[in-house]
Amino acid sequence: MSVNASERAGAASTTASSAGAGGDAGAASNEASIAQAKRWYWQRISAMVLAICVLIHLAVIVHAVRGGLSAEEILGRTRGNWGFAMFYGVFVIACAVHVPVGIANIAEEWFGFEPRNALGLARAFALVLLVMGLRAVVAVVV
């Protein structure tokens, strides 16, 4: 029994020391993996929200486009419509989460971007979508 215990202790210390020796590299790649997992997670969650939003949006489009589009018609429906504002607000936020993750992945995998730069690009795009999207919602509701 003491032999087993010491064997385990030996194994544990070996693992500990190798973790210590490869510590920095290990921590960095661990961080990268966590970041990647988070991106995956956020992309899936926002995708689920978007799936619902898109179905509703498609129904709205098909209905709205009948007989041609006119500003009067559209704005007549959207002005002062806070339910509309909330729905499309959520839609914009979900887009601002979902699209940049995809952009970052494409940047890294197809264009060889460094993870840092891909992240920067993603964040910039997220900001653009968020600002322009929420501005558009305000534009048609207020």
């Binding site: 689920m48 589009l69 006119s70 704005l75 995809g102 999207g133 558009a136």
Partner: protein, 99 residues
């Protein structure tokens, strides 16, 4: 296909938000843009975008199902379903435009 359609949509979105934002300048500004967008090429592009959106979403739903459920033999059914749904939405849109 999933990524390409996603990229196309990503490029389109800011334009879409910009057009809607025109309403900030008053109804006439938005109306002006809508009249400008009344040309056939534009309508064709819109039809393309709606189809891309439907395709991208069906591909995404398929992915979510693969990742989160234990169903098997999905692939063919879903690709067929995706194509069908995309065509359906495209046609509905086109029909709505015609009338």
């Amino acid at each position: 296909m999933h990524r390409l359609s996603g990229l196309a949509l990503a490029v389109f979105l800011p334009m879409h938000f910009w057009a809607l934002g025109l309403a900030l300048r008053g109804d006439a500004a938005l109306e002006g843009f809508l009249r400008f967008s009344d040309r056939p090429l534009f309508k064709l592009a819109e039809w393309g975008l709606v189809v891309l959106l439907a395709l991208h979403m069906m591909g995404g739903v398929r992915l979510l199902l693969i990742e989160f459920t234990r169903w098997s033999g999905l692939r063919k059914n879903w690709i067929a379903g995706a194509a069908g749904f995309a065509a359906l939405v495209g046609m509905a849109f086109a029909l709505a435009l015609l009338f």
